[in-house]
Structures are given as structure tokens and as C-alpha cells.
């Protein structure tokens, strides 16, 4: 797994190339006007807090808001010592790799899984080992078998909703089974809920943390529902794990932005998530349906892809004999960019796969991108 791939994603494709790459939200879903107004309000009323260093664990007002928000959205209010404010979801994963595992330890992950998580584990000398998935998400029976047969891992890392990179959502019945099997083996379950609030239609399934708050560390982010332009997220989980993450955060960036913390507090307390998020969910749902329809029109037989019900991604599999990494440059020449599947695998999987993000483009551009990609596949086949 290469850090160059992540830098490439964050840098975006060359000008004129349609991006199906990053887990980038559409900026039009964010409330630029409200953010400007609330920034002015926070700087007028609370400058002494907003413009100063914050406690490592977070600004008190924001912590209160987050505790209330967990209760409202996930049905349980954490104890204060079960919460840490982070500088985005990625930071929680990195801190966990740093202090909740030892170099040489194994962490079980979904195969495939989030590239950033693989890089964070690798950076701290932790070995990722994949457990297979199917259309209902992680294969929990396979996990149970692995836990029964193999050496005990330091953690199990999963992305239950609109998984990165496959777009899959862990089926309801598997959730309780997953927390049960991890509890049985005394293994910490790390749950990444980056796309949980962007279920396209209806309500999200129960979070793993809500099912087992004593055994699940949840990494959350405001990057998809507020903006990645401020770096802000949360970790909730067992108090001892949170305390260790907090100690490590003191030397990663000391504290998350106090201004951003007060801004999200004002935004959330003002009810803006409630008014904004339904539109964002509907936008991503429309884009998915447009993209899906265009892929069906354009793609040759033998190409398959997943059907997300949350988040930004579908996972497309090429026919036997084609290599998604090898086709990448040709696709960029044709005017469309994706991330090859191998980037999300800690083993040799993913060669025929690609992650396609439908979050950044309008419906017409998605149709164009699907057509261009189909041309590349057809030429190569």
C-alpha cells in the first residue's frame, strides 16, 4: 500500500479529467453562507475560546453538543470520559494504530478497506489482514472462524455504512453477531462511521457502538456532512481506550481547532444539520441512480458493480483478464479518473476492481464518465 496513492487522490486528477476518485463531498451540500454568519457570531461572542488553544479532549461546549448528538442520532449518551474530539476521522484511526496496537500486531480489516486506514496501520508497523466481504458487508462467519482459529488480533476495523471502497452496508442481523463475536474474543471493534449520516434513503441501521459501547471504538468525522475544510471529528468508546488516544493526541496536533469546534456547535445547535442533510442525502441518491443507469447503458457484459444505499462509492469489477491498475492511465487519457482496487487491499486482491466515487459530479457528467470508462473497458477487452 502506497502513500503516493493517497496524495494522488487528495491532489485530484489533471484539469479536464472527470473525477471518480476521492471520497470528496459535493461542496454545494455545505452551508457556506451559514458558516460565514456563524463564524462571525462565534468570533463576536466567544473569541477568547475560539481563538485560543483548546483542551486536548475538546472545547467543553462542543463536547456537550457531541454527547447530545450521539444520544439523539445513536440512542445513547456517552459518559464524558468516553468521548474525544479529533481533527477528523483519519486522526482517530492513526491514534488507534499508534497506541491501541503494538508494532507487529495484526488488525483484521474488511477486504477491501479504506486506504487511509491501511496506511495508518502500516505507518505504525501494524499488520493488516483481510476478512472477506459479500454484498451484505463483512462476512461475520468468516471473521468468527478466523478469531477461533488464528492468533488474537489487536483490533477489528470495519466501516458498516456505505463502506469505503465498496459502498456496501453491513446488514442489520450481522451487526449484533459482529459485536458478539468480538466481545466473545475480547477484541476491540473499531467502527468508522464516515458515511453513516449519508444513508441515501430512510434511517441508518444501529451503529455498532450503540450495540456495544464497552467494546466498540467509533471514529466519526464532520468531513462529509459539514465540510472537510475544517478538520474535525470524534472518537467515542471505552474510557480506557479514549484516555490513551487523548494522551497521544496531545503530541499529534495538541488539540483540534477551537474555532471549528465552536462553529459546529453553533451550526448543530441551530438545527442546520436537520435542515441541510436531507437535501444532501437526496442529491447523492439521485447521483447514484443516474450513475447506475449510465453504467448499465454503457458497460459491456461481464462488468459488475455494487449497489450502495449510503455514501459515495460503487465498486466495479472488470471481466477476467483485465487489470484496473493497468487501465488507469488510459482512462485518464480518455478523460476519466478512478482509484484502482489494489489500493484498498492489504493482500493481492483487487486487480480487476476499481473504486468509483459518484459524489463529485452532476448527473450529466456522471453519464459522460460512465461512457468514457466503458470505452476504455471495451477497448481493452
Amino acid at each position: 500500500v502506497s502513500g503516493g496513492e493517497l496524495a494522488r487522490i487528495l491532489a485530484g486528477p489533471p484539469p479536464g479529467v472527470l473525477p471518480l476518485m476521492g471520497g470528496f463531498p459535493d461542496v454545494s451540500t455545505f452551508a457556506a453562507g451559514e458558516i460565514a454568519e456563524l463564524t462571525a457570531q462565534v468570533l463576536r461572542d466567544e473569541a477568547a475560546v475560539a481563538l485560543q488553544y483548546a483542551p486536548v479532549s475538546g472545547v467543553p461546549a462542543f463536547r456537550e453538543y457531541l454527547l447530545d448528538r450521539q444520544a439523539h442520532l445513536q440512542g445513547r449518551r456517552p459518559a464524558p470520559e468516553e468521548l474525544l474530539v479529533t481533527s477528523g476521522g483519519m486522526e482517530c484511526l492513526t491514534l488507534a494504530a499508534q497506541v491501541l496496537a503494538q508494532p507487529g500486531d495484526t488488525v483484521l480489516v474488511e477486504g477491501p478497506t479504506y486506504l487511509g486506514a491501511l496506511l495508518a496501520l502500516q505507518a505504525h508497523g501494524v499488520v493488516a489482514e483481510a476478512v472477506p466481504m459479500d454484498d451484505d458487508g463483512l462476512d461475520v462467519d468468516a471473521l468468527a472462524q478466523r478469531l477461533a482459529d488464528g492468533p488474537r488480533p489487536a483490533m477489528v476495523y470495519v466501516i458498516p455504512d456505505g463502506q469505503n471502497p465498496t459502498g456496501r452496508t453491513l446488514a442489520g442481523p450481522r451487526r449484533q453477531a459482529l459485536v458478539d463475536v468480538c466481545r466473545e474474543h475480547g477484541v476491540l471493534l473499531v467502527e468508522d462511521v464516515a458515511y453513516r449520516e449519508l444513508v441515501h434513503d430512510g434511517e441508518p441501521l444501529p451503529s455498532l457502538w450503540s450495540l456495544a459501547p464497552d467494546g466498540v471504538l467509533q471514529a466519526g468525522t464532520f468531513s462529509k456532512v459539514f465540510t472537510p475544510g475544517v478538520r474535525l471529528g470524534w472518537a467515542v468508546g471505552p474510557a480506557d481506550a479514549i484516555a490513551r488516544l487523548a494522551e497521544a493526541k496531545g503530541t499529534s496536533d495538541q488539540c483540534a481547532s477551537a474555532l471549528a469546534q465552536l462553529l459546529v456547535t453553533a451550526y448543530g445547535r441551530g438545527g442546520h444539520f436537520g435542515t441541510r442533510l436531507p437535501d444532501a442525502r437526496a442529491l447523492y441518491a439521485r447521483r447514484w441512480h443516474a450513475f447506475d443507469a449510465a453504467l448499465r447503458d454503457a458497460m459491456p457484459d461481464g462488468v459488475t458493480w455494487t449497489v450502495p444505499t449510503a455514501g459515495f462509492f460503487t465498486w466495479l469489477t472488470l471481466p477476467e483478464g483485465l487489470d484496473a491498475l493497468a487501465l488507469r492511465d488510459r482512462a485518464v487519457e480518455h478523460g476519466v479518473a478512478y482509484v484502482p482496487g489494489v489500493a484498498f487491499h492489504c493482500d493481492d486482491g483487487g486487480t480487476r476492481d476499481m473504486r468509483l466515487s459518484f459524489s463529485q459530479l452532476g448527473e450529466q457528467d456522471l453519464a459522460r464518465a460512465a461512457g468514457l470508462l466503458a470505452d476504455v473497458v471495451r477497448e481493452a477487452a
Copy 2:
């Protein structure tokens, strides 16, 4: 060295206790009104960049600004590959400990030095070893001796201006000698310039990076001159070191806040540093003179302290037989809080010392704090 000390500093003292603790800037030196206006402007004109993920190395417009700023303030424009945007100065130190040293390596530091740096080294299994200082900063002859006699360290870490925690500034003639001796031994010099732009009077001395850009990694921060309420800084240095830091940053927080990057760009390009900083420098100079006068009035014989010409700190030494750590609780009971000197030492030094920050209190409160502290010392003596 304990992470609890850092959390204690960031949390601040109990209500009603005068803080002489953190390297906290005075929020009144920041331009809350301009920040609100510029945020609105950035969100109106550049929302698509401000509210999105940024490249790991930084937003292009901010990078251009930083390159120009280095040229203007330090006399040399870095090459683009010599610059990385960071989420504050601390992040650069942590990334350096992570990727420019191996666990078990030694890093030479000033004795005493910045607590956060000691914690970052410790978190990555790197051993800090102190080189003595005197009133002119790091004893460069002692460093040269150590480099000649001992095993080669991975880095040498120094804070040349208004050093944390002593307030000392590395004398001009020592600067060239320092970069020369590090170059001679092929050792990377890491320069922390947190307080460089807060020289109380006159111009700062040449930065170490400006003297040896191929051999010095400079960690800079906007926390003292803009606000710590956004987490933003820079690293400039040899291209190979910067590339390795950038790769590691991809998995620490992926990128610094894009909104903050555009905000500081607009602030800097608008000339606000030039109009604001002279007042900030004058304020800290006044506070230092008031505090110094009050200490002279109040402190019993045998108590000594350093004379800063930049930054926020003086380093006070108690008479023989007194223990600054042991007196801490009594001081808080008396209504004044400081950081015991042992927190800044990687060896058994600092027991009679305390770091006193004069940045957060007005002149009357500083006088009160000096009096309260003198009472504690007198009672204990």
C-alpha cells in the same frame, strides 16, 4: 516526561487562579473582526476550495503565500518541494520524530526544551539527550564536543528565539557555528521558530534555516501570530525530508484545514500581519517589563530568572533546597499556577526551576501573580 502535564497546561488552571502556565497568546492581539470578514470573503469567492479536502502538501495559493513569506521574512524563497503545510508546529515535530528517526535513535535537545517535543520523541521511541544552555542559548561548544565524542544523533532540535521554556535567544555568533557543526557531522538540525516573529524589540536574528537551507528543517506555526484556534503551520527544509514528512502527514490528518489556509492567505496578502504584529510585540514587551519589575520587587534573595527578548517565557530558579514541583499545589492554593521545570527536562534537571509565562495576563495581574509566587517561595524557604 508525562503527557498529563501537557493536558494540564492545555486545560488551564482552576477558575480564579492566575495562569503563568501555557504558551498561550493573548487573544486580544488577534484580529477577530478581520478574521470574520475574511472568512466571509473566502467562503463567498473560494468555497469550492475552502470547504473541500486539500492536497497533503497544502492549498496552492497558501503555498505560494508561504514561499513569498519566507523570502520576505527570512531572506530566501524555498523551492516548492522544500515546503509542507502542517496543522501547526507540533505536527512537524511529531512527523519528524516518526519518519526522520528510528525507534532507539537519539535526538539532541536543549536542556531544558519544549515539553511537546520531548513527548513527541518519546511517543515514537526516540531518546532525547540534553545539551546544556547558558544565557546565550544552546552551548554550541558543548554540542560540538558531544558530536565529536558520542554516537551520531538522528537530529539536533533547537528553539533559537525566545526559547521554550527559558525565554533565551540563541546569540548571533552561535548561529553560524551551530549550522556549521551540524553540517560537519552530517546531522539534520531541526529549528522551531514558534516565537521568532515575537521578538520584543527590533528585528529577529537570522533563522538557522536561512543560514543552511540544505541542512535545517524549520517548524513554524501561526498559533502565536494569527491564532491557535485554527491549526496551521509550515515545515521548510531539505526536499527529501519534506517528502517523507508529507507522506506521513497523509495518514496523520490527511491535510490541514483548507479554510484556514485560504484565510491566512487573505490575511497575509492583505498586509494584516504587518499592521498587527508591532502591537503584539509591544504588548508582550510591556508585560515582560512589568513582570520583571514585579519579580524584582517581590522575590527574596537567591531567586533568579532569565531575561527574554522574545516570546512569552521566563525561567525562574529557586534557591538551593527548594523544589518547584513540590511547591506547585501550594502555589495554586495561593492563586497562581506555573509549570514545574522538571517537565522540560529529559534528565533529572529542573527541580529548582519553573517556567513562567507572562503572555496571558495584564500588567496588574502579573504584578499580583509575582507577589503571590514570592509569598509561596518565602513561606517555603
